[in-house]
């Protein structure tokens, strides 16, 4: 008699097929270091509540706040309820969902450098494993200044609160917020510290721009539509503009901002992420490392800026007295915690080049600033004008370059500008736009960036997070510039409420181009 061999066990659960689109992570303990801070109150906990509201958090998901102030669990929940009421995307708050969410919200008081506090935290987490089914899975969100990162990282390691993914078992992940250093050396040091306790794949560097729908749509726009990619190159594109404008000043962040400046605060991270997504080659797969491999190539291909010829490539500015949106706005040097003789730039405009086959000699104009006329983040692709001489002698027709504009925020969407004949008996042309707006086409407002990013960390997908080499490549490009500024020189002043100093206009007008009014 022969005995039939047992069929092999399938590697994946076949019953999961078709359920993947609604990805739901396994329940875990998310520890927020700096749980009493602004980021936790305004962004993280409201985002987590909205995820729960949308049914995207697993039953048993647990959040443990860890910070210095003395709260009981109940007092912390009451505090967070206020924050959710004020800041959550999904308002008004649904009582049933909140009650369920609040049951998984705990607080542990402690100093970040106190080993005993980590012991208390560990006990709390183990208790949650038993009572809430979190299975030893850990997410540590460091919503704290980078100076705390080494001590937190060391103590987590020393207390045995970090697992090694190479050895299997439940995961541990750490989420860190920018700034990832203030120059190449400090970024390298931060990364070195990170990998003494964690492996690189356990580290999730948040750049909240990557959580925005429109930023993610850049990949879909470019690689899921056959019409764009064929002319997404130097043959058809004249230049590109990237604008991150804020109407606000430094508000309460004067102390921090004055040590950083807009280049460190915005350009090194958000803007170079945008540039790399717009300029990268098609990745070989829609996977984290395949995408990040292509992004980092773009950053590495950025032409080194000749620091001795700065006016041709860079303009830095600082806002002076003026008015924004009808309100008086004081000069940067009069802001709280800002020295009266500060030379920190609140505006920067850069003309960059990507030295690769696709983008050779295509200028990329980047500008970021505070106290500009309005808050807007916008990318515009300016195509070469039509070569057709047909309309050269037709008085009513002025051939203008087509512009594809991608609005990241607010009012997310894409528009294409082209010329059209004005109805009537004579031939006259006028520019018109075809517009796509997220809110119009998809009704619901897109989720907050932090919602998406928190969910991705729970799922372990690092596509939307900056990798170590990306961060270091970005610093490597900016370091010579920042170092030269540290030696001296003053930023050009611009009145608050304008689009930056006149030198920035000159930077682009010298090339026969103009800044697009976003």
């Amino acid at each position: 008699m022969s005995v039939a061999a047992a069929p092999p066990v399938p590697e994946t659960n076949p019953l999961r097929e078709g359920l993947e689109q609604e990805r739901v992570p396994d329940a875990s303990c998310l520890v927020i270091f700096g749980a009493s801070g602004d980021l936790a109150h305004r962004k993280l906990l409201p985002a987590l509540y909205s995820l729960a509201h949308d049914g995207l958090l697993p039953a048993g998901q647990t959040i443990v706040g860890f910070a210095r102030p003395d709260y009981t669990d109940e007092a912390y929940r009451a505090e967070i309820r206020k924050a959710v009421d004020e800041f959550a995307r999904t308002r008004p708050v649904d009582e049933a969902i909140w009650n369920n969410f609040a049951k998984g919200l705990f607080y542990v008081r402690g100093d970040f450098s106190e080993p005993e506090a980590y012991n208390r935290l560990k006990q709390k987490l183990e208790e949650c494993d038993r009572t809430r089914g979190t299975g030893g899975r850990r997410l540590y969100y460091l919503a704290v200044p980078p100076s705390f990162f080494p001590v937190i990282s060391d103590l987590l390691g020393a207390e045995g609160m970090v697992t090694d993914p190479e050895k299997g078992g439940p995961y541990t992940r750490v989420i860190i917020e920018k700034p990832f250093g203030r120059d190449l050396a400090s970024a390298k040091e931060l990364n070195r510290v990170a990998v003494t306790t964690f492996r690189e794949r356990q580290v999730f560097r948040i750049d909240h721009y990557l959580g925005k729908e429109t930023v993610q749509n850049l990949l879909v726009l470019r690689f899921a539509n056959g019409i764009f990619e064929p002319f997404w190159n130097r043959q058809y594109i004249d230049h590109m503009q990237f604008t991150v404008a804020e109407s606000i000043g430094v508000e309460k962040r004067g102390g921090y901002f004055d040590t950083a400046g807009i280049t460190r605060d915005i350009v090194q991270n958000h803007m170079l992420q945008l540039v790399s997504l717009v300029a990268m080659e098609p990745p070989v797969a829609f996977e984290a490392d395949a995408i990040r491999d292509e992004k980092v190539k773009v950053i590495r291909a950025l032409r080194t800026m000749p620091v001795d010829r700065q006016p041709e490539f860079v303009v830095r500015g600082q806002y002076d007295d003026g008015s924004v949106l009808g309100e008086k706005a004081a000069a940067y040097r009069k802001e709280v915690n800002v020295p009266a003789d500060s030379r920190t730039e609140t505006y920067v405009a850069i003309k960059a080049f990507i030295d690769n086959w696709r983008w050779a000699d295509v200028p990329i104009y980047i500008r970021a600033g505070k106290r500009l006329p309005k808050r807007v983040t916008d990318i515009s692709i300016h195509f070469r004008p039509a070569p057709n001489p047909l309309f050269r002698r037709v008085p009513g027709v002025r051939v203008q370059p087509n512009v594809l504009a991608i609005r990241i925020q607010p009012d997310e969407g894409i528009s294409l500008k082209f010329d059209s004949k004005v109805p009537g008996p004579t031939v006259r042309s006028a520019p018109v736009t075809m517009e796509f707006r997220y809110a119009t086409s998809f009704g619901a407002e897109p989720p907050e960036a932090y919602e998406r990013l928190l969910l991705e960390t729970m799922l372990g997908d690092s596509t939307l997070f900056a990798r170590r080499d990306e961060v270091e490549a970005a610093w490597a490009w900016l370091d010579p510039l920042l170092a030269s500024w540290a030696k001296g020189g003053d930023p050009a002043l611009y009145p608050a409420g304008t689009w930056g100093p006149p030198e920035a206009d000159l930077l682009i007008e010298r090339d026969g181009r103009r800044w697009r009014r976003p």
Partner: protein, 362 residues
């Protein structure tokens, strides 16, 4: 924040529907701010009804749907036994986005009676927006006895949305299966979508490796369907049939033309029972027994509104059952319209469920 505004319907001549719609927008553009109103559509959604009650329901549901997925809505009320007539109305489903912008979707209602019903398919075809996909929502029972009419209507459809809990005959399910197998119209079933939490609960039982091994040791499956009466409508069994067919398909079981099931180790018993409940058409309980005598069950904790699985005596609440909240008709339809592709799993499950249906209809 979205505010819904009821459509103000305007009766128009059949031959001038498009012209009348254009006129509405032209007049509004002239009167209002240039930026104030946006006309949008991502889908053509056609709802087919046979009574004024169903028509009212379709109007209400698609008005809510249009707020999330902009669409040209065409609502057909076709009743061959009504007096011969063909009339139409137009309106707009508008909602406010981003504080002040009004986004409007067009709605066309067509009421046909008597022999005029057969004029509906070409009329509907002429009213579809070009280059936009077409979803066809069939409310109520599918008229399998009038297949030609159904096929004429479905000809331009990319998606057929039904709710099989309303089917009165296994032939309706067979017709959906035929549409899936023989046409380019992809079927979608709201009854199948409602089952997602049960599929998720069952899937999470078999996530651990040692449980995946047991997937090949299934000996018996028992499913209790909720029914609203002793002699239930066929459709009240379909949820249980889908669950069984899905489990069989994904576990590699073979189902013959009479609905008998065979696994690698021999026959597997799929047992269908019923439990009276105020709302029929769902599943009350599922039990999966294994070769070694152990079993796993899934049941609903009515107090917490969640499904609870029990494996070898250990109870567990599977992940994300909170999604059971999203079973309102407009939410189910929105989920269908947000799926860019056909549901391949449903296409796989349909013929198996059709074969298994012979086991529940005696």
């Amino acid at each position: 924040m979205t505010d819904l505004m009821p459509p103000e319907d305007l009766r128009v001549d059949i031959g001038s529907i498009e012209r009348s719609l254009s006129e509405i927008w032209r007049v509004q553009k002239k009167e209002g701010d240039d930026e104030a109103i946006t006309r949008a559509a991502l889908w053509n959604v056609v709802a087919h009804t046979s009574s004024s009650i169903d028509q009212a329901q379709a109007t209400q549901v698609l008005c809510q749907t249009a707020a999330v997925v902009p669409q040209r809505t065409i609502i057909i009320q076709a009743n061959p036994s009504a007096p011969p007539d063909l009339t139409s109305w137009i309106g707009a489903n508008c909602h406010i986005v981003a504080g002040n912008k009004q986004v409007c979707s067009e709605e066309i209602a067509i009421v046909a009676g008597g022999d005029r019903v057969h004029r509906v398919p070409p009329l509907m075809n002429a009213l579809l927006i070009p280059d936009m996909p077409v979803a066809f929502w069939w409310l109520g029972d599918l008229p399998h006895e009038n297949e030609e009419y159904v096929q004429a209507l479905l000809d331009p459809a990319d998606r057929l949305i039904v709710d099989s809990s309303h089917f009165d005959n296994p032939a309706d399910l067979a017709l959906v299966t035929k549409v899936a197998e023989q046409t380019t119209t992809a079927p979608a079933d709201l009854n199948w979508v409602r089952l997602e939490e049960w599929r998720l609960a069952a899937a999470s039982i078999f996530d651990p490796w040692e449980m995946r091994r047991r997937l090949q040791m299934i000996r018996r499956v028992r499913i209790i369907a909720t029914v609203s009466q002793d002699e239930p409508l066929f459709g009240e069994n379909v949820g249980a049939l889908y669950f069984a067919a899905w489990l069989a398909a994904q576990s590699g079981h073979q189902v013959d033309r009479d609905g008998r099931v065979e696994g690698t180790n021999g026959p597997i018993e799929y047992q269908f029972d019923r439990r009276l409940h105020t709302r029929g058409g769902g599943i009350a309980f599922a039990e999966i027994s294994f070769d070694d005598g152990s079993c796993a069950t899934i049941t609903r904790d009515r107090e917490k509104c969640v499904l609870v699985s029990n494996v070898d005596g250990v109870e567990r609440t599977p992940d994300a059952v909170t999604r059971s909240l999203t079973n309102k008709p407009h939410e189910l339809i929105v989920r269908q319209l947000k799926q860019p592709e056909s549901d391949k799993l449903l296409v796989k499950v349909l013929p198996i469920a059709t074969r298994m249906a012979k086991r529940v209809v005696r």
